[in-house]
Amino acid sequence: MQNEILFVILALVTIVSSVVMISAHRPIDSALSFIITLISIAALFALVNATFLFVVQIIIYAGAILSLILFIIMFLNIKDDNLPDEKYKNRWLLATSIIITPFSAILIDLILRSDIAVNGVSDEKFGTIKDVGLTLFSEWVLPFELVSILLLVALIGSVTLSKRKD
């Protein structure tokens, strides 16, 4: 029962802050509300015992990626006339949500009709760093190594992009 109440609160916080994120005019506002979204998603991870992913979400997303975004926003020194004026922003948001709503309604209806099992976790070790690490290094070694190549490509790409002379 306690978990359900926590879930409802966290879900409301997540939805409200992500709506604020896509509708705020200044990027600093949307970045700050996106931090709230990410932290409440991390709390939702913790609610289903995924403790390692909870830590990773807070360290990497809310810690590294979002502070990088905030750093870039402050570094670029964005004034109001650098922003796109977006006169019809609210109309665009309304029109797009009207278009998207039927698709998500179909998906939600599909989820509600399906008979996916609702077991809940009984195993104590589930989601700990040992469990995830053993799975990562036994069954998922190849994707893990490919991710390292991807990170190297992203590193070289970002250095090359920012060193271009023109």
Partner: protein, 101 residues
């Protein structure tokens, strides 16, 4: 709980798609893409908790790593594009389409 998690993930995904389509500010577009990845992560974690199988958690770890490398590329793109155009409007960024750009 699993159904509630899946429904929340669908709602977050739809919010991300709405932001991705309707905004012109490139930083908000980037954060909408991150929101899409997070919605997928949320449903993966819920499924893995329900099946007591940690493969889906490894998948979402890999998704987080991909999001981190995407963040590095996006940030350097923001800096280069902002230096060239002096604006964050996604409609101005068409240098790939110019003939002698």
């Amino acid at each position: 709980m699993l159904k509630a998690y899946m429904i929340l993930s669908i709602i977050l995904f739809s919010i991300g798609v709405v932001g991705l389509i309707s905004r012109r500010n490139i930083i908000v577009i980037y954060m909408s893409i991150e929101l899409l990845l997070n919605a997928v992560n949320l449903s993966l974690i819920a499924i893995s908790a329900d099946l007591a199988d940690s493969s889906a958690q490894v998948m979402s770890l890999i998704i987080i790593a991909i999001a981190a490398s995407e963040a590095a590329l996006f940030m350097s793109l923001f800096v280069v594009l902002f230096r060239n155009k002096g604006s964050l409007d996604a409609n101005l960024f068409d240098i790939l389409g110019e003939k002698n750009g």
